[in-house]
């Protein structure tokens, strides 16, 4: 049976106080501002996951008779130059933005943490070579690398995700390496190695769980950046290609009609701003939560 049963008779209050502590933690995380932000993020993730349920029209449904209509009751946010419903396209576009951002952060975390942990754990030549590479990548604006990679791969969703995964992995690598270096010398790691636990197991079961906190916070700070970069690149025609509804691409398409149909540029941009702001607020809250000694950054 679990350890908990063994202690139950001796310290009956232990679990209760732990729950209380946990509740206090949760309450500390959810101040009014982060609650609103969390609610918005949940709503957008729901919209992104089940767009068909919320969106009144499909994202490719055209009605040439209803071209460039201003917001009205049948088209809440108006229609575009093909008579497509802007609100529905925004809902479908949420999925594109959110999931491209998430997958990019996931790739960046996996690649970066692997590099960082291996580098920190083994040291020596591996460490030297990998960290020089990371240094060079960190010493230049990442958008430059993104543009080089996209030139190489051609514009598409796949190359966008790969590109962002690569350009943001150095930050994760740095952090993971620092964590590994300090965890490596802890007594529990030394004793694990002393009783002959294989290296891979030491890395995965002993070191990784102990350095995961800051990594999660860093990843949550990367997400809004990834969403913004996706929007920027799609806006420049270098990311998601039409007719897939990406917020950045919608903005770019709406530019030509700005004078007669400003809603085509106002709403997609506002959508990007709202999601990025909410995720930023949550990231800040996560950072405070993980490290209460840091002053609130907002």
């Amino acid at each position: 049976m679990s350890r908990r049963t063994r202690y139950e008779g001796r310290v009956p209050d232990r679990d209760v106080s732990r729950i209380r502590l946990w509740l206090r933690d949760v309450r500390r995380f959810f101040d009014p501002l982060s609650t609103v932000a969390a609610a918005i993020v949940v709503l957008i993730v729901l919209a992104a996951t089940f767009p068909g349920i919320i969106a009144p029209y499909g994202y490719e449904d055209m009605s040439l008779r209803e071209r460039l209509q201003p917001p009205n009751w049948s088209h809440l946010l108006g229609t575009d130059n093909f008579g497509r419903d802007v609100f529905s396209r925004l809902i479908y576009g949420a999925g594109v933005s959110v999931y491209i951002g998430l997958v990019a952060v996931l790739i960046a975390s996996t690649v970066g943490v692997t590099i960082g942990v291996v580098s920190g754990f083994y040291g020596g030549m591996v460490d030297a070579v990998l960290m020089r590479l990371v240094d060079v990548m960190l010493s230049f604006p990442s958008i430059l690398f993104a543009l080089v990679l996209i030139t190489l791969l051609g514009p598409s969703v796949i190359s966008l995700v790969i590109t962002m995964g690569i350009i943001y992995s150095p930050r994760m690598a740095r952090l993971a390496r620092a964590g590994t270096l300090s965890a490596k010398n802890e007594v529990y790691v030394e004793s694990a190695r002393a009783i002959g636990v294989p290296n891979r197991r030491v890395l995965l079961r002993y070191i990784l769980p102990n350095i995961v906190g800051p990594l999660v916070v860093q990843a949550s700070l990367l997400l809004p950046i990834a969403i913004l970069v996706e929007a920027t690149l799609s806006f420049l025609g270098l990311g998601v290609q039409p007719p897939t509804p990406s917020w950045g691409a919608m903005l770019s398409a709406g530019r030509a009609y700005m004078e007669i149909a400003p809603w085509l540029t106002i709403f997609p941009g506002a959508a990007i701003a709202i999601i990025v702001l909410s995720v930023n607020l949550l990231g800040d809250a996560a950072q405070d939560w993980a490290n209460p000694r840091l002053r609130r950054r907002l």
Binding site: R132, D135, V136, M137, S139, F140, P141, I143, L144, F145, L147, V148, L149, I150, T151, L152, G154, P224, L228, A231, T232, F235, L236, G237, L238, G248, L251, R255, M258, E259, P262, T265, I266, G269, I272, A273, V276, L277, N280, L281, D284, R295, R297, L298
Partner: protein, 315 residues
């Protein structure tokens, strides 16, 4: 600041740039397919490809190609565009001043907003002003700058008709038209930068305000304004300067979307066109030049530490 430090720092910059050029060159040479074939498009004969390959030097080993490229780049010849067949050096020489002027104006805009806002925010910590300024800064970080640009065009160019909706006007045509053309792009770029600068100004001034010398300054009866500007702010400058330096460099790259929105013929626009046309020589050259600008900005920040804070001495 010792001379040897300066030399070492410049050498470091050179090595980083060299590694960067290796990465960029290597990445773009790893393209699937043949550069000559891409250049010729759909219709070409075997002979044409052979001739072009020979002329472009694609038959040489890769390292020979790299050294030829970097060698001419160092002599100021960045090659020709595959698309227009024009000299890239000439094109960049025309576009660099445009981007630089935009960056400089944006820089001043952001400093004018960020430093006072950050200082007042720190001085009036946890008041309504402070909270408001912090929320605005967070919004500033979250807004996509190309959208801010489009909204400025919508409001001030299309509705109010105060400014042109895009394009660049040289200062030789008068200060009025010049500022009207560059105001909106500079504000777009500057406000994005102001947000981060304001946050660091506030944090670092708060840090300085909690020091002992501030208590001393206050207790000897100095005005709060003097305490804030001459004592706290001066000591808070180092982190602020670091962020400003990084931001200035980032702005050179961050102007990609802004130059597109406002149809400004700058370096970033050139780079985006190069990426769109898969014009490899253009991409390589612009990335290298922007990187150089970024490294120089960082170098200057490093060196200015010693001037601002005499306690810092480089060995």
């Amino acid at each position: 600041m010792t001379f040897s430090y300066l030399v070492r720092r410049i050498l470091q910059t050179g090595i980083t740039l060299f590694l960067m050029s290796l990465i960029v060159f290597g990445a773009l040479r790893a393209i699937p397919g043949d550069a000559a074939v891409i250049l010729l498009g759909e219709y070409y004969g075997f002979e044409e490809v052979t001739v072009l390959r020979e002329r472009m030097g694609l038959n040489d080993p890769v390292y020979v190609q790299y050294f030829r490229w970097i060698g001419s780049a160092l002599r100021g010849d960045l090659g020709v565009s595959w698309r227009s067949n024009e000299s890239i050096t000439y094109e960049l020489a025309r576009r660099l001043p445009v981007t630089f002027q935009l960056a400089l104006l944006a820089f001043f805009t952001s400093i004018l907003i960020a430093l006072p806002a950050g200082l007042v925010s720190a001085a009036k910590r946890n008041t309504w002003f402070d909270r408001g300024a912090r929320v605005i800064a967070l919004i500033g970080i979250s807004l996509p700058n190309f959208w801010v640009g489009l909204m400025l065009i919508l409001a001030f160019a299309l509705s109010l008709r105060w400014i042109p909706s895009g394009g660049f006007v040289s200062i030789s045509e008068g200060l009025g038209p010049y500022l009207r053309a560059l105001a909106a792009p500079a504000i777009t770029l500057g406000t994005a930068m102001a947000a981060s600068t304001m946050r660091i100004t506030r944090a670092s001034t708060l840090e300085a305000l909690s020091q002992d010398y501030i208590r001393t300054a206050r207790s000897k009866g100095l005005r709060e304004f003097t305490v804030l500007t001459a004592h706290a702010f001066k000591n808070a400058m180092i982190p602020i300067l670091t962020v400003i330096g990084v931001q200035f460099g980032l702005m050179l790259a961050g102007s990609v979307a802004v130059e597109t929105v406002f149809s400004i013929p700058g370096v970033s626009r050139f780079l985006i066109d190069g990426v769109n046309n898969r014009d490899y020589p253009v991409v390589m050259a612009t990335v290298l030049v922007i990187s150089l600008g970024y490294m120089i900005a960082n170098l200057m920040v490093d060196l200015s530490y010693a001037i601002i804070d005499p306690r810092i001495r480089y060995e």
